[in-house]
């Protein structure tokens, strides 16, 4: 009997471990919550939240093409030649523009090379709110990855919203592989 219980416990422990590994492994590579420090202490909370600046003022390519675009460094100085010019953080920006040695931001969101994503289709065509994928940016002091940004997350949304044109998503698979992978 003892042996049986022992075997049962061992089996349960093994099963639990397996389940734990599987659950954990599913998160490998998703990076949800990734929040690296940035070379310039830029606050989205201040700019997007309190000042209510339009996202596309800085992310200038979001309605044009694949990438939203990291704002050109010079763009910061549109305001910051007047505002807070003495801040040590702004000085870094000024210095980058003067010297030509550009700021190297730490990238937060990224999709693998084999997945094609186009900002313009979501911003321009579908008129989605940026927050839908990027979370409450207006509350983020330091920006972080809010959603999983994995394939299941993409497909779920596309299924639920039924946003794509009919021929694209009628089939039960939720879309053709080479809508994104090519």
């Amino acid at each position: 009997m003892k042996k049986l219980i022992g075997a049962f416990v061992a089996l349960a422990a093994f099963g639990a471990l397996g389940a734990y590994i599987v659950v954990q492994a599913r998160h490998i590579g998703y990076n949800q919550g990734y929040q690296p420090d940035q070379p310039v202490k830029f606050s989205h909370k201040l700019h997007a939240g309190e000042l209510k600046m339009d996202c596309q003022y800085c992310h200038f390519a979001a309605d044009k093409g694949r990438h939203a675009g990291i704002p050109p460094t010079e763009l910061c100085l549109n305001c910051h030649t007047q505002v807070k010019t003495n801040s040590p953080e702004i000085k870094k920006v000024q210095e980058a523009v003067d010297s030509g040695e550009n700021i190297q931001w730490n990238r937060v969101n990224f999709l693998p090379d084999y997945a094609y994503f186009n900002h313009a289709q979501h911003v321009n065509v579908a008129q989605l709110d940026c927050k839908q994928c990027h979370g409450p940016v207006d509350e983020m002091e330091i920006y972080y990855q809010h959603e999983k940004l994995n394939m299941g997350w993409c497909i779920n949304c596309h299924r639920e919203k039924d946003i794509a044109p009919p021929e694209d998503h009628k089939r039960a698979s939720g879309g053709d592989c080479q809508k994104c992978h090519y």
């Binding site: 954990q24 675009g69 763009l75 084999y114 289709q121 021929e167 592989c177």
Partner: protein, 979 residues
């Protein structure tokens, strides 16, 4: 397939008993070769695998399992995002810009992503090319990124700054005694011509024009007959009959893009002007010859004799008439009859003999072709002069030349007597080379001033049809080079850039005569935007002066030829004169005729091979007395029995990682006769060496195995019934359920016209660059592991001396009932709702079942991680297409990235997709518009209409796999009696 060919039964042991018509099973003996199937497997499983025993298996298994959990511990690397410092208002990340420019005289559009050029396309606004390209244009981007390019100016092998270089060169020039010479290629740029004129007048330079393969014969003949040292411009759309003596006008002769465009328009059998009749007489099989309705294999002597007889028949001057063999007489009579009976015609020859060209001119004059199908246009352009350059080499040898500058020319490699040139060069104290990368000539020069690549330069060039095409840089110079014209400006003590010079020249000298613009800036912006502009004033058509060709005909008749085997040198479509020999894309492009890659070889006829028991791949030595080469033989039909052909452009001794040392140089086989370089009249002998070097062929099986893969008919039959020759030959029992339900939305399909496709293979290179298809190299191609998503199958039929050829582009057929999909165990290849057969790289585990089950053999397996590590070459990769890794199957995707881009763009613009919004890379590159792609559900689209055409069929229709790629029956303009 026309019915007139002898029916035989299928030669394989399959027992199907289906008749095989005409098409050959095998090039060398026209018999089924069962032994070959065994050879296929050779080298497939090579020694790179580890020891295959139980212990090593367990070791590796254990290591893999224990390493697995470690993958969970890996921290993602920090990736940097670097923004622009300043925003460029015309550039958005991820959005391509297109800029017009020019490559080797052809107007092109360059696709630029984030500042780096990634693809060259034709310029649709050019009326000359109408958007067509050739293989060199498609491969040109890789030359821009060639890491072998020179990085700095140098004097005597030591790198120097440009200002030091300029000062030293200036003082060397001022001190030099003797003649000062600038050697260039053909110069068609008005601004460059002006600069060269200044160099001549202010610094006393002489300008000598040199081309490795000159058209001196034609130009010189035109100088005598028209008073203009200029080439012929052909207008083939207006020609009912085209007779060509060796002129490869679809490939390497003349303005091939314009000629292909015009020719192909008359190859559509429903053209109201009718199908043209193309007669071709040549000694070795060229691309153009393989497209002819009637092709005749004749030695150079016979060609000239037949031409003399044709000259007599047309002009009535019997001076050129000699006694012909029965077959030659029949041919001459046939040509005369054809020319006389057609309303419009053209006769051309690539013979570099001036007298031959004068005869050709006289024939065309008598036929009234000038002004209609041929024009001689006088411009300021300077064309190669064989006599002048040979005189220059003599002067150099005699020590009369003090300064020689070589701009874009490499005579140390491609002069017909390179040894003499090298020796002569040693007598010149100041030699300047403007080479892009170190070459044979630059290694002789004490001053080396690396030139910019075309895509980093400014220029302009006069084409045909009064069109001037602009060259503008699409990227900053990548290496430490400088435009050659700016080096000349430094010598002339001119301030500013060549761009300033060019703008000033246009503003002052050319713009005032062009109307229709409010000011110069408007004109200039439009000209650079469009890339082309019509300037009628620069081009003047000249007319024939009444010269007699009588003496020429006599001279040609009395030419004495050497003894023995005739060695003919020719240009291949991809490699041409070898200037782009360091471009791997061009080496891996299978030659349209031989299907060989990565080498040159000696082409021999099947009858010669049989008589001397030579097999393809046997290394043979061709000795012409003064020069010899040792190369593998290639047994190819359509070669004259006493002639061997050797391709130019190989055997570079200083080119780069790819080009150096490949094959053997054939330029020295050319001879200097009567003031012009003759590429056809070297004679010698062939001996076997006993060695063997297998050719890396992309097509080793020539047979259709009794199936009607290619369907063809004759024009006579077509005129009676537009569906002639399009009856399916076989019917097999159905194994597939009824069609997929794929009727909604967009349904992509393609149609390829076998009549307008010339087999040039430009699409193959276009596909490679668009889809990041790796170059695998000679060994891998030899193992049949080439990665091309698209190939051109070539089949021969009929007589081995004078075969008929068909070219058939073959790519993934996107079958509705795709056999590959059923066998994939991991659903890595699936069908999409818009009718594409899609390959999902991330799912693929590399079983290769799909490739085995593909009836068209179009799937390609990545045996290795192919090299994309070169820091420059990798810049040419298309960022919208994954680079596939080892162990993954891949194949044509119908350019899914372009389909998606087109759809997304239409959505952004809130409109429906229009026909033409989406073009596949192969379709866009095609110089003859043989490929049409589109949505077959859009009833107004060209593709939907083509699918209704009675000429349309699908390959292996009997399998009922329902391909989405359709072909159109080939129609030959050949009468019953001829065949």
């Amino acid at each position: 397939m026309s019915d007139n060919k002898n029916d035989k039964t299928c030669g394989t042991s399959c027992g199907c008993g289906t008749p095989v018509e005409g098409y050959w099973q095998d090039v060398e003996n026209k018999l089924p070769t069962e032994a070959k199937t065994q050879e296929f497997a050779d080298g497939e499983f090579d020694s790179f695998s580890i020891k295959k025993d139980r212990r090593s298996f367990l070791k590796i298994m254990g290591f893999s399992v224990s390493a697995l959990p470690l993958t969970g511990c890996v921290k993602i690397p920090v990736r940097k995002a670097i923004p622009y410092l300043e925003k460029n208002p015309t550039q958005y990340p991820g959005v391509a810009n297109y800029y017009s420019t020019t490559f080797e005289g052809s107007p092109v559009m360059i696709k630029v992503r984030e500042g780096r050029p990634i693809k060259a396309e034709g310029n649709k606004l050019s009326t000359v090319t109408e958007g067509g390209t050739d293989a060199q244009i498609q491969a040109s981007i890789l030359d821009l990124y060639d890491s072998n390019r020179l990085r700095s100016a140098s004097i005597d092998g030591k790198d120097v700054e440009w200002d030091v270089f300029d000062n030293k060169l200036k003082s060397a020039i001022s001190k030099a005694s003797g003649k000062k010479v600038l050697v260039t290629k053909n110069v068609t740029s008005p601004s460059q011509l002006k600069m060269i004129a200044e160099l001549e007048s202010k610094l006393g330079f002489d300008h000598v024009v040199y081309e490795p393969v000159s058209r001196y014969g034609i130009n010189k003949a035109n100088e005598r007959a028209f008073g203009a040292f200029a080439p012929n411009a052909y207008f083939l759309e207006d020609a009912d009959t085209i007779v060509s003596f060796g002129a490869d006008f679809l490939g390497t002769f003349g303005n091939n893009l314009q000629q292909s465009r015009d020719y192909s328009k008359r190859r559509v059998p429903t053209n109201p002007k009718g199908l043209n009749k193309h007669i071709h007489v040549e000694a070795v099989m060229t691309l153009t010859g393989s497209n002819a309705d009637s092709r005749y294999t004749r030695s150079i002597q016979s060609q000239r004799a037949v031409l003399g007889s044709v000259y007599a028949g047309i002009t009535g001057d019997t001076a050129g008439k000699s006694k012909l063999s029965e077959a030659d007489q029949k041919l001459a009579d046939f040509v005369v009859k054809q020319l006389k009976s057609s309303k419009t015609s053209v006769l051309m020859s690539d013979d570099n003999n001036v007298d031959v060209q004068l005869m050709v001119a006289a024939i065309n004059k008598t036929l009234g072709n000038y002004g209609k199908t041929i024009k001689v246009i006088k411009t300021d352009a300077q064309y190669a002069n064989d006599e002048q350059f040979n005189q220059l080499v003599k002067d150099m040898a005699a020590g009369k030349v003090g300064v020689a500058m070589f701009l874009g020319t490499n005579p140390a490699y491609n002069f017909h007597d390179p040894k003499a040139f090298v020796e002569a060069a040693s007598k010149v104290s100041t030699k300047v080379s403007f080479a892009l990368s170190a070459d044979e000539t630059s290694s002789l020069c004490n001053f080396v001033a690396p030139d910019n690549h075309t895509y980093e330069s400014w220029s302009d060039s006069m084409g045909v049809e009064n069109e001037v095409s602009f060259t503008q840089p699409v990227i900053q110079p990548l290496f430490g080079s400088r435009m050659a014209m700016e080096t000349l400006m430094a010598l002339l003590n001119k301030e500013g850039t060549f761009h300033d010079y060019m703008v000033a020249n246009w503003k002052k000298n050319i713009y005032p005569a062009i109307g229709g613009f409010s000011n110069f800036d408007n004109f200039w912006n439009k000209a650079l935007h469009d890339g082309v502009v019509k300037v009628d004033r620069m081009f003047k058509e000249v007319s024939y002066r009444n010269v007699s060709a009588n003496a020429s005909a006599n001279a040609v008749k009395n030419i004495k030829y050497g003894e023995g085997l005739n060695v003919v040198v020719y240009q291949k479509f991809a490699i041409r004169d070898g200037a782009m020999a360091n471009n791997p894309l061009l080496h891996e492009m299978p030659d349209p005729i031989t299907k060989a890659t990565w080498d040159n070889y000696i082409m021999v006829s099947p009858s010669f091979a049989k008589a001397n028991s030579i097999k393809s791949g046997d290394v043979v030595k061709v000795d012409a007395g003064t020069y010899n080469v040792t190369l593998p033989a290639a047994v190819i039909p359509g070669i004259e029995a006493n002639t061997v052909g050797v391709a130019l452009g190989y055997g570079r001794t200083r080119s780069g990682k790819v080009g150096t040392g490949m094959g053997a140089n054939a330029f020295p086989f050319a001879t200097f006769v009567n003031g012009s370089v003759d590429y056809n009249t070297s004679f010698g002998k062939l001996t076997k060496t006993g060695a063997h070097r297998g050719l890396a062929l992309s097509q080793t099986h020539q047979s259709m195995e009794g199936r009607d893969i290619v369907r063809e008919t004759t024009y006579e039959k077509f005129e009676d019934d537009n569906g002639a020759g399009n009856k399916p030959k076989m019917k097999l029992p159905q194994i597939y359920p009824v069609n997929h339900q794929l009727q909604e939305g967009h349904q992509w399909a393609m149609a390829i016209d076998l009549n307008t496709c010339t087999g040039c293979s430009t699409c193959v290179v276009a596909c490679n660059t668009e889809n990041n298809v790796p170059v695998v190299g000679r060994t891998e191609v030899h193992r049949r592991r080439d990665m091309h998503w698209m190939r051109i199958d070539r089949y021969f039929a009929g007589d081995e001396q004078e075969p008929e050829t068909v070219h058939m582009p073959m790519l993934c057929q996107h079958c509705e009932n795709a056999p590959c999909e059923n066998v994939c165990p991991v659903l890595a290849t699936v069908h999409s709702s818009d009718g594409l057969n899609q390959q999902v790289y991330n799912r693929c585990i590399g079983t290769r079942y799909c490739a085995n089950n593909c009836p068209y053999k179009v799937r390609r397996f990545n045996w290795f991680n192919y090299d994309h590590s070169d820091e420059y070459a990798r810049l040419a990769l298309n960022p919208d297409v994954s680079v596939r890794s080892r162990g993954v199957m891949e194949k044509c995707s119908f350019c899914i990235q372009r389909i998606q881009e087109g759809k997304l763009k239409a959505k952004r613009e809130r409109r429906d997709l229009q026909p033409g919004d989406i073009q596949t890379a192969c379709q866009q590159s095609c110089p003859t518009n043989a490929i049409v792609f589109g949505d077959m559900n859009d009833k107004n689209s060209p593709i939907a209409k083509l699918l209704e055409n009675p000429r349309t069929y699908s390959v292996l229709e009997e399998l009922n796999v329902k391909p989405r790629v359709n072909y159109m029956v080939k129609v030959r303009n050949k009468s019953e009696e001829e065949a």
